[in-house]
């Protein structure tokens, strides 16, 4: 329980009906770092994120945000504590304009948005050009930028991203990870869930590997990226005998 950790997860269990998706995992997210959870489909990565931001009620365990217990609270309470999620598959509001999408991101804030809008437009000049366009007409990469920009509008301390590279072309994925590094450089803590282990581990300070609901390995991004079993499982290299 140090002051350095913005988020501390202990013995988190998430179940859908009788099926246990997350089986007692524990991990820390230190302030100002990029932490990644990698793993295959069904490893429980998304369930972990969804339970942290309140979309799913954890069946047991503790989630502490800056030392305060948030497990089982409603999303609106959790979002108001400066934590935000970029959902899987982008999920922009297709029939709203780019600007309206960004304003929704700041829904729980009552103060002026001009500075944050300027900041987001500065990070994503493309969004500024298209601020009156309907979000549904943007390309996949632009929608991902909008989803990240929308999350930034709530002025979060911790940003959780659920597979931001999903369904994007390699060159666009590179751009998304550049943005993640840039946002981190500006002082935001990022919890990144990814299947694209290579990109994620190179962007992250710290990584956890999840398999069928449990954390099987942890280490710095570099350590994990160099680990032979991780390479074999996620980076496409054959296991050495």
């Amino acid at each position: 329980m140090s002051d350095q950790n913005i988020l501390e997860v202990r013995d988190l269990n998430v179940a859908y009906g009788g099926i246990k998706a997350v089986k007692g995992i524990s991990f820390d997210v230190p302030k100002g770092e990029v932490v990644t959870l990698i793993g295959a489909n069904g490893a429980g990565k998304s369930s972990t994120l969804r339970s942290i931001c309140g979309l799913v009620r954890p069946s047991s365990g503790s989630i502490r945000l800056n030392g305060e217990e948030i497990a089982g609270k409603t999303p609106e309470v959790i979002v108001s504590k400066h934590i935000t999620m970029v959902p899987e598959g982008r999920r922009v509001f297709a029939d709203l304009t780019v600007l309206e999408n960004l304003k929704i991101g700041a829904y729980l804030r009552k103060d002026a948005l001009d500075d944050d809008l300027a900041w987001v437009y500065d990070l994503f000049p493309r969004l500024k050009e298209r601020s009156w366009q309907l979000a549904g007409t943007l390309s996949g990469g632009e929608q991902q930028m909008l989803a990240i920009g929308r999350a930034l509008m709530s002025r979060p301390d911790l940003i959780m991203m659920d597979e931001p590279s999903l369904g994007l072309a390699p060159i666009v994925v590179q751009g998304v990870f550049d943005i993640i590094r840039e946002i981190n450089r500006q002082g935001k803590t990022i919890l990144l869930v990814e299947q694209n282990a290579n990109m994620a581990l190179h962007a992250a300070h710290h990584g956890y590997v999840m398999e069928v609901g449990t954390i099987t390995m942890s280490g710095t991004g570099r350590e994990l990226a160099d680990d032979e079993s991780v390479k074999a499982a996620y980076l496409g290299k054959s296991r050495k005998a």
Partner: protein, 363 residues
Amino acid sequence: MKKKRDLIIGLALIVVLLVVLRILEVNISPQSQWAMLLTVLKKGSIYALVAVSMNLLNGFTGLFSLGQAGFMMIGAYTYAIFTIPVDQREMVYMYYDGGIIQFALPAVLGIILAGIAAALFAFLIGIPVLRLKSDYLAIATLGFAEIMKALFQWDSLGPLTNGSNMLRSYPTPASASVIYPFVVSGICIAIIVMLINSTYGRAFKAIRDDEIAAEAMGINLAHHKRIAFTVSSFFAGISGALLAMFQTNVQAKSFNSAMTYEILLIVVIGGIGSVTGSVISSFLFIACSEWLLRFLDEQHVIGDFTVPLLRSGFRKVVFSIIIMVIVLFFRQGIMGTREFSISGIIDKITGKSRKAKREGGNS
């Protein structure tokens, strides 16, 4: 500058509209063939309000509700029950010893009370029903409307609702003048438009587009759905009160599910998610069903030639075909999700482009 210009033009148009309506009203005698125009304008403005209120729910919040006729009925009954003059009650409630309510409110209070009553019912029914989604919500709200219809005709409630007998003899300003329903509907629609353009409206649209993402943004789904449902029903109640005035009598059985479908049709034809679309299509719909297509129901003889097919009921066939054409070729409705705006037209004429969509010239 531009905002001020739009405001002045908007106000001027409203004044012009009201003057034109007044001139029409004074000059059209009830016997002339144009008398139907006044009926269309009155009923059209009433339906415009209920259509916009339904659009708030179906088009802007994405809640597929079919309870609109039920809430109109609650509004219509509330208005009638509380505004029948005391000396008329003995006659109206002849089977129930003059009823239990022995006072009468002024018409304006009656209208507001009609909205509040409908909103109250909506709030209560919304607690269980709004947990449901899409078709299930539609079935539940439709069922609610049918239950209310049966309940209001229940003999034991007779001292209040007059059982299955009609309520009448209440003040009917919306029937006497075409200005009245226009002004009341106009004010209500303006309030709905303001709501849609507010932060709440943006949250409604976010819920419509993606519930999970909206929830992740910190929008309380249950709370916002309840607000949309209650507000929509409030205005449905008010339009029910106006309809009660227009018809000069109220009977529960006229608020059937066919009425809800008519309103739904207006919303779909106008464009789900377009306020001005709903308004335009209400007048078109009422004009077609009450007036313009009436000639199809009568036999016409030109010289020796009797026009075939034209007979009672043929109007409905043509009407159905028109609806099919609209559904097939204008899938988004007349307006889609666009809005008709005066400033947009002026900008087009003067050759300026304007990206901001603005609402103008309603009612």
